[in-house]
Amino acid sequence: MIQLKHIFHWVNQGGKRVFILKDINMEVNEGEFISVMGASGSGKSTLLHILGTIQEPNEGDYFLKGESVYQLKEKQRSLLMKQNIGIVFQAYHLIDELTVYENIETPLLYLNIPASERKARVAEMLDKFQIVGKKDLFPSQLSGGQQQIVGIARALIIEPTLLLADEPTGNLNSKQGEEIMNIFKELNQEGVTIVQVTHSEKNAAYGTRIITLSDGQIEHAKNDQ
């Protein structure tokens, strides 16, 4: 489903290139649940951002469902992304001015989904995560765990084929974290491909495969090439 080929990413510091990612080659197959691990500063978030096309590497190729992402026109790429990828952040990143319901609904607006269908899908999502009672609250009125659940609901509303999560449990206590991980596991069983970044071995174990980064390079990856 995903192929990264020779991804290099660097910043210039004092005239010298400091590599953040160095020759990353990886493949993610449909239905996998991958955990990315590594020391702080090893480039995990950067890798995830590249997968989510929030960031573009300085060099390398990215294939998603057989399409070369960087060759696509801006419009097509953004369509490909917003139809296929859901992203969950460590810091939730909900829109403060919108209610739970509206936060979850927003991605559908950008996909031009008709109102009736939006309603049905949001209702389904609220139901699935048992947050129907919270639908009219604003993010500031929720606990961290609840916010993250909304964040996940928002990522899933587009029915993504790929879910990217950057330390989704980083700001949560262990019980809340466990809850999120179980949700991920279920989703994976329903067929959603997941790439998550985590610091916790326990959370990593929920996945089907672990990729470890160190200084911008993949360490003990099972080499699928």
Binding site: I87, E97, E102, Y110, A155, I158
Partner: protein, 806 residues
Amino acid sequence: MLKNYLKTAFRNLWRYKGFSLINISSLAVGITCCLIIGLFVWDELKYDKFIPEGENIYRMYTEDTDVNGTTSTASVAPMFATYLQSNYPEVESTTRLLMFNGKLLLEVNGISSYENKGLIADSSFFTMFPLKFLRGDPKTALEGATSVVISETLAKKYFPDADPIGKIIKIDKTDFAVKGVLAEIPEHFHLDLQYIIPMPAAGVEKERMERWTWNQFFTYVKVKPGTNVQLLQSKFQAAVKKEVHREFAADGSSYVPFFQPLKDIHLKSSEFIYDNAKRGNSVYVKGLSIIVLFVLIIACFNFINLATARSFRRAKEIGVRKVIGAHRSQLIFQFTGETILFSVIAVVLAALAAYLLLPSLNAFTGKSISFNPITDPALGAFLLATSVIIGILAGIYPALFMSGFQPIRVLKGLKPVNSGGSTIGLRQALVIVQFALSALLIICTIIVYNQMNFLQKKDLGFNKDQILYFDLPGDLAKDPETLKSELLKSTGIVSVTAGYGLPGDQLAGDGVIIPGKEGDRNQSVNLFIVDHDYIKTMGLKVLTGRDFSKEFKTDNEEAFIINETAVKEMGFGSTEQAIGQRLKWDKWEPDSINPVKKGKVIGVVKDFHYKSLHEKVSSAVLIIYPEATVKMAMKVKQEELPKTLDYIKTTWTKFSPAYPLDYKFLDENFEAMYQSEQKLSTLLWIFTMMAIFVGCLGLFGLAAFNAEQRTKEIGIRKVLGASSLDIVTMLSKNFLKPVLIASIIAFPVAWWLMKSWLEDFPYRIEITAWVFLLTAAASLLIAFLTVSFHAVKAAISNPVKSLRTE
């Protein structure tokens, strides 16, 4: 989608109430100013547009150039119309109005009063200007010598319950038959009229009507469609040159006729002398338009400034929206939509404000403008469209800027753009422009105010206060002395004079002859027909020589008193040397014994401003010539004025029972002369205040934002030992610099603008440096007060609190 945007927009509006309030109110103030002035300007531009085929109608005027410069005159010779009509086939018709002050006594069965909006017109008047008739036939209404057409108002006044058609009105003691009643005369007609009598009624001899030099007529020409008016004009200029060359070219002066389009009469005649049109002033109309544009620009800049400043607060929302699939154009649409929402609210508020303020505007300008966007859907739609345009103009930059945020930076918690530098730079630039515009307005306001003050306070060389005057009807004019002595019996009347030529009133322009060795020399002067009490009553100052005196029997026939300017223009050298110089004057109604007044200069008076200060004092000659007496003026005491007035009225009735008394105070005329500048000055004050207010609102918002953004920094600095004063200085410094730069930019522009405005005044103030210094100081002070409010608030806040909340 729209609902989602609207929701976010309203919630944002509500969440940042202060910000929204500043934005909306400054925009509302700006738009209110625009609406008010827009309505005024629109109204000014409406003049004479209602006249059918008005684009083919022109008014004649002339430019007369002599040693004193060029003057434009709206009144021309009677032959203009005759010649144009008979020599150029492209001329369809002409019509003339005889210049007179419009005031005649109207009497119908005991109802009698002076009506001062009269016209004396050629019978073609209503063909050229087809005003609506309620009764009568426009084609024949002005035929004969004794017809009159009256307005509906006069019809109601003089014939309250009868049909006026065919009835007799006594006009100046002559019978006229009413041949027509006009429907309400459109307000936007450049002529102000209540009644019209035909040209033959004026009884001008045929010989005079054939003159090329008796400039006593307002002349309108209607050309056939498609006429090349430029060509016609130059043909006619050549003809006039031929006809009147002898008269005018002698001393190197010129006299050139021009065609003025009908639509220009109202706004582009402000420099004309001898004009009877209702005149506006295109310079002021343009000036006001520019000023309100300034106010609007300042308000829009507030919008841009505050929106870009605030955008950092919304960076997260933008980043998130982008990550979950928003396209940049969708974000641009969203944010522009928000500013449109703001501006729609502002326009609604502004429309309401304009609606409420309109009565004051009408009272101030004497117009009757109406404004109701609800009953006038076209206006409503126009306002809505305007609000959308303003919303887009003010919102597009912030929207482009914000939608360009890179989500990666936002999500990482970095500042959303690479370096804040560019927007800070832009904000500073906009603040500079705002304050430059404000400084410009402040300087202009001060200078206009000073000039007005100068004109008002300037010693006119005579005393215009408490001088009452009236016309003398025929019998009284022949023997004013008895009335004079009767009036002087009142203790409330200090002195009385009779003659022709009061400052600020009608004046006679004429020439005197200076006999010399190389022959006689002609000198054009303003002639004042006076008596022995004129100089005393008007408070003129005799510099050398003496006043007219009854002790010198020869004064009546042989004495001339001239002013300082005449001394110079006549080439007499000093005022002392002028005494005894010989002068001659051709009498207006030459008697067989002495057709020419020959005599000597017996006195020189200090220059007195008998015309408005817009004109330089010209040569004035005072003579005794009782035959031309038409007016009486008297100085009255302020105390017991009502009693004195009663006395004047009873005395008048005794002397002239046939005519009602119609008096005026001399200073009213002088007030009227400066009215347009006075109003300009007032408007300038108002709009300058508005501009400053709006600019300060913006600065206030920016300062609030700045202080808020730096709360944490301020907290840390305080913990590290910075004093409150240090903090205030730190926060204020950033804002004062642009204000200072703005002043420096505004100074030369203001100087140049005001210099050219002042050049129209022969008597004017100097532009002094202190105006600029004052403006700079005022701008700085205003900016400092605005900014320091937040700076002080931030500086005295408890650092622990601010650090904990961060």
